[in-house]
Amino acid sequence: MIGFASLMAGVVLLLLLVAFAANGWMAARDSWEARIAQDDNAGAEICPPEFVGHVFSRQDWEFIRGMRAPELAALFQQERKRVALVWVRQTSAMIQRAMREHATAARQSKNVDFPTELKIWRQFVSLVLICGTLSLAIQIAGPLWLASLARVAQRLSEQMTNVQSAFRPAPPVSADAAGSE
């Protein structure tokens, strides 16, 4: 029993290391997408959910494949890989930011609910692992086989940001707004 638990702990640790290594490697890449995706102020608009379906769908691939041109197929795969990686980096940056904000809010809170905190941390770890796995899998096989995993990541990140925004304190009422009422 102890052997099995150690094995599981080892696997989880290894996966975490791979995820962080992949994340660190990609963050270090000098591309404008990476810089912007990691910037807290950039991409102020939220990524629409249908976008994930589009990037990871096979519809456009079938169109390109129908043209029977290897150079177009190669360009398509290269381009879709790039877009999918931008989305993964953006999702990863978003959840890390949400978690940072949540941790700050939790430290200042006087009545922390531990089961809720545990649930949030479990979601965070799951998302870090999924993003790490997605990054590696996109690098290796391209995004067209990963639609289901991408949908899970999208759903989890939405849940997590919703939970996190529920914890966020309401912004103070500005003097102008208060005066106008």
Binding site: Q59, F63, L75
Partner: protein
């Protein structure tokens, strides 16, 4: 009548823009390029003399921005096959030769300035990537046509 007297909303100005100026332009890509061209490069503010005269400059600016975002969203989310059709229609409507427009668009990538401000970076990247692919598809078709039936 002074436009400041009119209690107009952004939605009204937007409707007017869609029914008049945009209705005269064929194709979403051409509309997108037109709307992006009404934006000042330095300030990011949109200007449209007719709309500003009818409503107010701030209302006109917001209506143009709204239309820009809507059309951008439609194009960024449309299937690649449809986008190829949009780019083809835009290229064909240009007074320049098809070959010239395709080459300039591939080299200068002028479609990058068509992005609305603060658009999600992943969506922006998909738009740029899909336009690049659509241009490559059109270039491929042109070369195949030039090579003749034996070229395929």
């Amino acid at each position: 009548m002074d436009p400041t007297d009119k209690p107009a909303t952004v939605e009204q100005a937007h409707d007017d823009l869609v029914r008049h100026s945009l209705a005269k332009i064929s194709g979403d890509l051409a509309r997108l390029i037109y709307l992006a061209s009404t934006r000042d490069y330095n300030t990011g503010k949109y200007h449209h003399d007719g709309l500003a005269a009818q409503f107010r400059p701030e209302i006109a600016c917001q209506a143009l921005e709204m239309a820009h975002r809507q059309i951008f969203g439609r194009i960024a989310g449309c299937p690649l096959e449809r986008l190829v059709g949009e780019v083809e229609a835009y290229v064909n409507s240009s007074p320049q030769s098809r070959r010239e427009v395709l080459e300039v668009w591939q080299k200068l990538e002028p479609y990058r300035v068509a992005l609305p401000l603060n658009v999600n970076i992943a969506v922006a990247q998909l738009f740029i990537s899909n336009i690049k692919l659509a241009l490559a598809v059109l270039q491929h078709r042109r070369e195949r046509k030039a090579a003749g039936p034996s070229g395929s």
